[in-house]
Each structure stands twice: as C-alpha cells, then as structure tokens.
C-alpha cells in the first residue's frame, strides 16, 4: 500500500514564504523550512533564496504562520470503554484539524489506565489508528479511588508521561502527600484536578445564577482549598506539582504567589474557562456544564491576566466528548464536559487578537511549555526535530459550527461563535494530517 504513495521517509518538502514562529527561540520572521526524513532539516530567512532543487516538493505558505504543532496535555479520548463517545481515530482527526499534533490522554477510561498493560494498549491503538501522537497519563491512584498509589515508577518506564486522577481530585491529604513524595523520586509529574469533593457537591458555579436557576453551587474555595493544601505538601516533599486546570481568580493568585516563592508549581487553563463565563449555562444549557464549572466574569478575566503574566503556563483543551444521552437530560444529571480539540486554538487566538498577550507568548502555552512539562521532545522548531508543524491564517474570520466538528461527539457550547484565525495545514512527522483544502 505504501508503495503507491510517495513515502514521507525520503521525501523532501520545502515550505516557502512562511512567517516562521517558534516560541522557544522567540523566532518570528519570514522564511522557509525544509522537511527531510520526517524531520525539520533546515529553516530560516535565507533558505531557498536561490530556488529549490527539482526533487523537492514545494508548498507555498503565502505568508501564513508556520508554527510547531500544538501540544495538548489534557484530553479525554474515551478509549477504551466509551468508544461510542470518541475513539483515538476520531479524536486524532479533530486534533489535527485543531492544529494539535501531540495529545496527552486522561486515564478515566474503562478500564482505568492504572497499569502497564493499559499504557501499552494506548500506545498500540494510537500507532494503529491515530493520526496524531498520543501519550497516556496514568492514574495517580488505583481505579481513581484516591486510596492506593499506582505503580508510578513502572508506569513511567512503560511510557506514562504524567499522573492524574483525571476528573477527580486526590482529596485525602495523606494519599496526596505520599503521591507527591513518591513521584518526586522519579521526577514524575503529578497533575491535580483541583476540586475538594466535599465542597463541590453542586453542579455549577455558586452564586446568583445558581440561586436563580435553583441549582446547587460549587464555590470558588472548593478549588483554592485543594491547591493551597497541595502547595504545603509540595513544600514538605519537594515535589513538582501541576494544577491540571484552574477556574478561579483566587487560585490564579495562589499559584502566582507560590511561583514567586520559587516553588516548582505549574498550572493550566482550559480554553472554555477563558472563553466563557457562567452565563453560558443560563436556560440550563448542559453543553456548558463542565468540571470545574464555568465561573463568574471576574474569574474569566483572571484566567487571561494569569496567562499574560505567566501565572498560568499552559492552555489545554480538556476535550471531554459526550453523547446526546449524557447531555439531553436535566442539568443536574448531565455529564460534565465540552469537546475542545478543534476549538482550543481559535479560542486562544481571541486573547491575542484582543491585545491581551503577544503571539509568541500565547503560542508558548500550547507548544513548548506543555511539551517540556510532560517531557516530550515536541513543540519547537529546531533542526532535527520531528516535522510536526502547523500552518495557519492568523486573521481569517470564521464561525464555529458544531455540526462540522470532527469529533465523534459534538457537545460544544460554541455554535455560531465568530472566531479569527484558522488552521490550514497540519503535518505530523512530515506528512499531511490535515489540509483545509481537502477536508473542508
């Protein structure tokens, strides 16, 4: 089969007339890039000034941006166990269309990714079915029960890139202390879902809106209390620690001050927490039900200032596909989650277009920062790196249409939202994984 198509192995591709952007080296200039042997062979302003050789395939970028493929370190890909909602193949198509070339999948599958066999299963399924690179995060505790630690060292050796109990917090202080202390031995990254379960029995943000809707609220402190406790445990154990996605102004402040004290804390925000506020759930719109909940407007604004001043290091999709039956129910019964692989990038670009953050600074949150955090050799334009690249039109206006989403589930509260900035082509290992001219 491969013999009919030109193998990417030997092919040389020249991407001409691009605006090269690399957050890690602060590169932002016009130039060209050469892909050879699936890798970035050369790039720069002067490249191909003398023309290209005949055997080189030429792609004219027409002045559009060329960036490292995006790295999303929090997505629920539902395989194994909930393939009716999503699988690695459908998720990877959505990711590639969204400019994402590497995805870290969460372990809240069925069975839970809490043992080596499951890590190997994900690696094999990804190899066989996924267009993008998929890396599993393993559970911190067995079966996500928050009690017994998983085999953190062995899982790390098998290929887990981080540890997370997905949509549950490790609530027990003693278990969290041991998780941090033990993970520190291997420099394994613990990613905490920051929500005290006893304070978060509600179903949406606590406040006037919840009171009007007659829904139980989840207060901001449910999040802050866990992060403040964990910071004490970091100090005790010396471990590094990552807040998997925060939603409140207070938590951003807490993370910012912990960083100022020199602690190895990092934090991510999901795109919906800076793109939407709690008003999105008015009229009981279950598509906007998510965990942690969409918060009040001052919290949303705090996400953006946290990104701008580096209190927040990473942007994630928190892609959480759900079928109709999980969402077309009364609000309190509806599942938490929003699909986000295709919308993370355009929603993030809104912050740039609004003048809140520089383009390289914004791109760093979706490329080099998350890659370094989970130890992936990705998210950079450098010679010898895998040719995972994205070409996008920075200014193209378009509208999100949820019935066009490539994910198997389409639970997104963005239908009709106007956005600016569109992915045109995505290469993974030098091969086209998405091309808007073909697919759209």
């Amino acid at each position: 089969m491969n013999s009919v198509r030109p193998s990417a192995q030997g092919q040389r591709i020249a991407l001409l007339n691009a605006r090269l952007l690399d957050p890690s080296s602060k590169l932002d200039q016009p130039g060209a890039l050469l892909i050879e042997n699936r890798q970035i062979a050369d790039f720069g302003p002067g490249l191909f000034n003398e023309g290209t050789a005949e055997d080189v395939m030429v792609v004219d970028c027409a002045g559009h941006c060329l960036i490292p493929g995006l790295v999303d370190i929090r997505a629920h890909l539902r395989e194994p166990g909930a393939e009716h909602k999503e699988n690695l193949s459908t998720a990877s198509k959505a990711a590639a269309a969204g400019g994402i070339t590497s995805v870290v999948c969460m372990p809240n599958t069925d069975p839970v990714i809490d043992q080596i066999a499951l890590i190997e299963f994900i690696a094999r399924r990804a190899r066989e079915t996924s267009a993008v690179k998929v890396y599993p995060a393993a559970a911190i505790t067995k079966n996500l029960h928050g009690k017994e630690l998983t085999e953190i060292g062995l899982l790390l050796e098998a290929g887990a890139v981080a540890f997370s109990d997905a949509d549950r917090a490790v609530a027990d202080s003693l278990v969290m202390r041991r998780a941090l202390a033990y993970a520190h031995t291997f420099d394994a990254l613990i990613m905490q879902h920051p929500e005290d379960p006893t304070l978060s029995t509600g179903v949406m943000n606590d406040g006037e809106m919840a009171t009007r809707l007659g829904l139980m609220g989840i207060p901001n402190i449910a999040e802050t209390i866990i992060v403040e406790r964990d910071i004490r445990l970091m100090e005790l154990t010396g471990a590094r620690y990552h807040v998997s996605h925060l939603s409140t102004k207070e938590t951003v402040d807490v993370v910012r001050s912990a960083k100022a004290r020199g602690l190895p804390i990092t934090a991510a925000v999901a795109a919906h927490h800076f793109a939407l506020n709690e008003n999105a759930v008015a009229d009981y719109r279950t598509f906007a039900k998510v965990s942690p909940p969409l918060r009040a407007e001052p919290d949303r604004v705090a996400m953006i200032s946290g990104l701008a001043d580096d209190a927040i290091d990473v942007i994630v999709s928190d892609h959480a596909p759900h079928d109709q039956d999980s969402k077309r129910v009364p609000f309190a019964q509806a599942a938490n989650g929003i699909v986000g692989l295709e919308t993370m990038f355009p929603l993030a670009l809104e912050i740039y277009h609004n003048g809140e953050i520089g383009l390289l600074e914004l791109l760093a949150k979706m490329t080099v920062n998350p890659a370094k955090l989970v130890g992936l050799d990705a998210g950079e334009i450098k010679i010898g790196a895998a040719a995972d690249l994205v070409m996008f039109d920075l200014n193209a206006p378009w509208q999100i249409k949820i019935d066009k989403l490539r994910s198997k589930s389409r639970n997104a509260p963005y239908d009709g939202r106007p956005v600016q900035g569109r992915v045109l082509k995505t290469w993974i290992n030098g091969r086209i994984a998405f091309d808007i001219d073909i697919e759209d």
């Binding site: 006037e208 007659g214 077309r328 509806a334």
Partner: protein, 323 residues
C-alpha cells in the same frame, strides 16, 4: 396578527416560571382566578371551557395536594384529566423523562402539568411538547401556581400586594416556592424579607431583591405576611441544621415570635406542614392568623385560570394569533 398579539394579556404558550412574567400578566392571571373562586363556591362547579380537551398530570415526584388540585381544576373545566406518576430510578431518569414526554406528546394532550425533582427539567420537557406545559414544581427552581395562589390569598385577605412587608421563613435553599414567591412579590411591589439560618439560604440571594435576616424576632418585626416554608429534609445531603428541636426553637413560628409582626399578620404555609418543626401546631389552626386553608381553596381557582388562559392561547395559536 400583531394587533391581536398585543391584545393578548398573557402571550405565553407555557407557564414555566414567575421570572418570565410581567406584573400585568400576573395581575391578569389573578383576576381570572378571582372569578373562579366564586364558581367554586357556587352550587354548579362544572364549567365547559375545556370540554374535549385532555390534561395530563405528569408527576415525576410524589405529590398529593398539588396533583389533586390540578385534577380538580381540570375536571371542573370539563377536561379529560389523566394522572401519571412516573417512578424515577436514580440512574438514567433523564432518559425516561424525555422519552416519556415524547410518548405522551404523540397522544396530543392539550396541557401537560409536570412536576420533576430536577431544576430545569420541566423547561427541557416543554421543548418536546406541542401543547401547553404548566410547571407544577421543578427541583428548587420554580413553582409558579403556588406563588400565584399565595398572591391571590394575600390580595383577597389584604386587598392589595403593593407595599406589604412579607417575610419568607425557613428552608429557602431547597425551596422552589420561595423563589417563585420572591419573583412575584417583587414584581407586584411588596417588600420581601427572608429569615433563615445561613445554611438554608442560597448564595447571593440578596441579589434577588430581598432583605436577609438570621433572627426571627427582627425579621418578623412589623410584617404583614409571614410565609413559612417546609424543612425539606428529603433534598438535604448532610447537616443543614443540627436538629429539628433546635430548628423549631430558633426558626419555628410560634405566637411569641409572631407577636412582633403586625397584630393582624397573616400566616401562610404551602404545605404539607411539619407541625412542631417550622410551625407551632396551635398557630397553624388559629383562624384569625392562619390563611392556610384559603391557600388550598384558591389553589384550585388559580389552576383553573391557568388551564383556561393557556388553552385559550392554544386555540388562538392554531388560528395564528399567538407566536
């Protein structure tokens, strides 16, 4: 068509909550209700307005008084009334709800009266229904006909709502009755107070336009109306009050606490009462203060009015008069 729409004093297909209504629309429903009180007290209670129409009482939550009240209201208007109690299993009850409502819709009911334990469930259901939907209570969200019958009771006993001081006391957190009443009383110009321990008050409730008290004797001072709420232990997860004994001591209504209100203060309760928990038994039966039986009586009239007005709109809709 526009002119007819403007002339419609209640241009709504469904009655889902008080929050969606204007003061004049509420006033209109109360006026129609008033006329049905006289009908209900007369020798011939049977009207023919809903002859040939079908009303389904669809209850996903136990109810005796509200369901009976709606049933009676429908029958007095000559509708064919069917009661359906749907036992809700704890898992996947939402699927049951949407499926059940679509099944019922296929049988062409004119009005669906729905109660559901989840806030927003009745609105979700109304999106699948071609007829009119009346919310008979959804979770902790709204119970519009209860607020209307309370307002009718106040208006009949006091002659007005405007300018009265109304204290709503007790478990506001879990109460749809409280939310509907807060909306209605504010729209009609009353001054609303809430009296409850902080654990039974929803967050930022003062933004709904109420004054909050944690002490009965200051909260009830000079009140015209005292509305007591039932302590909804079935909705409670964990401890909201240490014991019913302690609750009654501090927040239960007795003649001592009522003494600070206006001498002719009216005591109301949506029922069913927990005697000795939120209200003293003697006071509940005291006819000079208690309006509890009026509330029950006027409830039937209010529900007849709602059925009447909404089915009128359905007929107008069929001829293109209501959008």
């Amino acid at each position: 068509m526009d002119r007819l729409q403007q002339d419609n004093l209640f241009p709504h297909r469904h009655l889902l909550g008080i929050a969606d209504l204007s003061a004049s629309e509420i006033g209109f429903l109360l006026d129609v209700s008033d006329s049905y009180i006289d009908v209900n007290r007369g020798p011939n209670k049977k009207q023919t307005k809903l002859r040939g129409q079908t009303v389904i009482n669809l209850f996903f939550e136990n109810s005796t008084r509200t369901r009976t009240s709606f049933e009676l209201a429908g029958k007095r208007l000559s509708a064919d009334v069917i009661n359906m109690s749907v036992a809700t299993s704890s898992i996947k009850k939402g699927e049951t709800m949407v499926d059940t409502s679509m099944t019922l819709n296929a049988m062409h009911p004119d009005v669906l009266v729905v109660r559901h334990p989840d806030s927003g469930a009745v609105k979700l259901l109304s999106e699948k229904i071609n007829g009119a939907v009346i919310n008979a209570g959804d979770g902790s969200h709204e119970h519009p006909t209860q607020a209307l019958l309370d307002a009718l009771t106040v208006r009949r006993r006091r002659g007005r709502i405007q300018g009265l001081i109304v204290a709503i006391c007790g478990d506001v957190l879990h109460s749809r009755v409280a939310r509907s009443n807060i909306h209605l009383l504010n729209k009609m110009g009353a001054q609303v107070r809430l009296v409850a321990p902080p654990t039974l008050l929803p967050t930022n409730v003062e933004r709904l336009g109420v004054e909050v008290f944690h002490d009965m004797r200051t909260g009830l001072m000079d009140c015209d109306i005292v509305m007591m709420l039932r302590l909804q232990t079935e909705r409670m997860r964990g401890t909201f009050v240490p014991s019913t004994r302690e609750y009654f001591h501090f927040f239960g209504l007795d003649s001592d606490k009522l003494a600070v209100a206006k001498p002719d203060a009216l005591v109301m309760h949506p029922g069913p009462m927990n005697r000795g928990v939120e209200i003293d038994s003697v006071l509940a039966d005291d006819i000079t203060h208690s309006a509890i039986l009026d509330q029950v009586e006027f409830g039937v009239a209010v529900r007849m009015a709602c059925l009447d007005v909404l089915t009128n709109n359905l007929r107008a809709d069929a001829t293109g008069m209501v959008s």
